[in-house]
Symmetry: C2
Subunit: 472 residues, 2 copies
């Protein structure tokens, strides 16, 4: 085998590979709105087929289809490639380019950068990984591992039907030795950050509706002057929420919320000690456009809070009149979108009953909880596993000394792979950089030569990871 | 003079009068959106001109124009007719007809009813009043009073530029003996309710923006998993709001909020004693679709709360992701629309500084207050004034024994007329019924024969009020 000729092939076909990514970006796949999902799934199926997969198909679920494909390289090792083809909506203000056009603009200090919904989360990497696989074959080589592709279309909806698929396909999936999720691991300064785990998540809505409550307006918002003698669902929700956190909004006051939290294990403490030496707080603040962390924490103390604290977040809240100018209204209903993030040892089935009990105990039984996602459990891979070591080896091949994070605060459905019935180790990564997932002007760096790798090096790193996984 | 031939004329031209109302409804005039304002103002100016007004014109302000017109009948008395030609927006869900089509549908138990934005608040009555005036002249009579028309286009924006107009026109306006606002005074069972006063109002926004705060996300909402180490403007706003009311949301805990409230004066106590005998709690609950009043108050106790309590209302609240499904987001900003209603003796300049002081004292100096309306002061007319008695006489002529309310909880710019520089008494009223101002399916009853008067009787009552005002 020669990775060199594959790398050369990638360089020679750079423009074509950029166009491939743009093509996929232009096909909307907004799962929460049901927009473009099936069309995008068919795109992906076509990619699998062209690569030479057998059995490339849409596997129906009660929700969006999983795109499945098997590539048999006659290799010893088999990698289950987890991918997501759905994205967030594009309706937030602040976009400076049309979010589904796939526009590549010059963005200092990165150079040419793709600014689009899905650029980094994660259609950009999905197509780049396929570019990488296609390049191995086009360069005259065979893939070093067998692949089982699982591209789901509901990651942004909590992968709600992925367990159904896994249950149905478990015998096929069990043949894999490892799960790999191709994503970019460099921060905006080019530092490689290896993330070994994810938090769990539960996502739900809280609501007070006058109709069910039996107080306040019951059918529609009424003239605002009626507040003087009619109850307000909005004020009641405010009071209910007020009991849930400390005054700074950072400590959760729901009884039992922190009960199952455990201190970082020794392996994590070791990683944190090393991480402390290179952790770049300012780079993260710059990326997030955040000036201060909670409690004015700095460095490793801030990071520990990020990695090991469960959270209760308000993702959205709305009631009444939200248009321009003035309209006096006593709203009949208020709704919130909220999430709980779960750290190791917290089960995803625990938070909702605790919140229910808290609300009832404080006299807010009219607040309804509507679970939108059954959720993910937390998941972790030990840095000592051959899979994690294979990824680290790739980064070193490219001259990077990666910073190893025991986990991240984000969530992904890895617990579905690394617990029963599959019990597979998982890794995620790749060179390259992008950011602003879920925000306007989401981006993925395309050009080399700036502080981070571009698309070509990203694809080469995916190639390298596959070769290294062949030897685990 | 013969009111009878005018009433006959109105009956004979019923269809034409309905069409006149529909024509005006179809011309949008949504002040908060700046939609159709100038076109609607030109409609009104045309009506004034056709009636025979001299000097019918648009008087420019820094905002929307006031439509002005003078009708000289050579009469002894002059009535300043206050009107509003603007409406609320139409973007709330729940409309069962297109809100600007002017559709007349059969609505039990009322019979034919106009369902449209502006039907009752108050383009319906505006056009009906002009139908009435036109009918007097078309029937061969002369108007019994001189009229000065003041139709403003910013009532739903707090009449923010009406003081400017009044200042400029005060010498002309001072010639009036009384201010009359044509509106419908019957509830859905047909009972006539005379309202002698209005509450004042201040309307404002509260906001926490991470950019100004220097904490939380500063530029855009960021991935929700960052709540673990980044402050949340939404949780902080929840905590700030939580300090402002009792747990039931009904008692305002802002220091000094109730300081200037005075008990009802003896004249009001007398009116309330009478009112107690006929006050129809269930009719109001049915109209508002409300099952219970606050604290389970009933009858006159509920009504007293409504009439004599100041309020702090949340008209709207929004932050973060409010679309379908799930999106994890830590919002960078939260905004509320709020109003304070002011009862007699409370000045409109008082509440905002009290709220500011409250927020600062509780450690929420990052909450910004943005005043959207300078507001109205409260206003009242004594039932003993000749103007109020003229209105009562009209209702009795039509066989009604009106229920007299010392005031209502709603607000109107009457303080601009009954204080300096004009010092004019004001009355509002007319037979007829409509409801759902500021709500979907706003309506105005058109047909006679149901529990309430329809359009024709409404117009006749306006005619009668003018004749009775001629004799004050």
């Amino acid at each position: 085998m020669s990775k060199k000729i594959v790398y050369d092939y990638i360089d020679q076909h750079f423009d074509e590979h950029v166009a491939n990514v743009q093509e996929l970006i232009r096909q909307p796949s907004i799962s929460s709105e049901g927009r473009g999902i099936r069309e995008c799934a068919q795109f992906i199926r076509g990619y699998f087929e062209r690569l030479g997969c057998v059995d490339a198909k849409l596997v129906e679920t009660v929700g969006n289809p999983v795109v499945y494909g098997e590539y048999n390289a006659g290799a010893k090792k088999t990698v289950l490639v987890y991918m997501m083809y759905d994205t967030m909506p594009v309706d937030e203000p602040g976009w400076t380019v049309p979010p589904l056009e796939g526009r590549v603009i010059d963005m200092p200090p990165f150079g040419k950068t793709l600014v689009a919904r899905g650029a980094v989360n994660t259609k950009g990497e999905l197509r780049a990984f396929l570019n990488a696989c296609e390049s191995i074959k086009s360069a005259g080589e065979e893939l070093p591992v067998n692949l089982i592709f699982v591209a789901e279309g509901e990651e942004e909806m909590g992968s709600r039907n992925l367990p159904e698929f896994i249950g149905k396909y478990k015998e096929k999936l069990k043949r894999a030795d490892v799960v790999f999720f191709p994503i970019v691991a460099q921060n905006q300064k080019g530092k490689v950050i290896v993330e070994l785990g994810v938090k769990g998540i539960v996502y739900f809505e809280l609501e007070i509706d006058g109709k069910d409550w039996g107080r306040g307006p019951t059918e529609f918002g009424i003239h605002g002057s009626n507040k003087s003698w009619v109850d307000s669902p909005v004020w009641r929700m405010v009071q209910a929420l007020g009991t849930m956190t400390s005054k700074d909004g950072n400590k959760v006051l729901i009884e039992g919320f922190y009960d199952d939290v455990v201190p970082p294990p020794p392996e994590d403490e070791e990683l944190l000690k090393k991480l402390q030496q290179t952790f770049d707080e300012e780079a993260i603040k710059e990326e997030l456009k955040v000036k201060k962390f909670i409690d004015d924490l700095h460095g490793i103390e801030a990071l520990k809070h990020y990695l090991y604290s469960p959270q209760l977040n308000i993702d959205g809240i709305w009631a009444g009149y939200t248009g321009p100018g003035t309209k006096t209204l006593l709203p009949h209903k208020i709704t919130l979108k909220m999430d709980v993030r779960l750290v190791p040892n917290m089960g995803k089935e625990k938070p909702i009953p605790l919140i229910r009990k808290h609300l009832d105990k404080h006299g807010f039984s009219e607040v309804k909880i509507r679970i939108l996602e059954k959720g993910y459990d937390w998941a972790k891979t030990s840095v000592r596993t051959p899979a994690a070591q294979a990824a680290l080896k790739t980064y070193r091949e490219f001259g990077f000394d990666p910073e190893v994070w025991p986990n991240i605060a984000g969530s992904a459905p890895f617990s579905m792979f690394n617990r029963d019935p599959l019990n597979l180790p998982f890794i995620m990564g790749g060179l390259g950089h992008g950011a602003r997932a879920h925000s306007p002007n989401e981006y993925l760096v395309i050009e080399e030569g700036g502080p981070t790798a571009g698309l070509a090096t990203m694809e080469k790193s995916f190639v390298s990871i596959l070769y290294n996984l062949a030897e685990i």
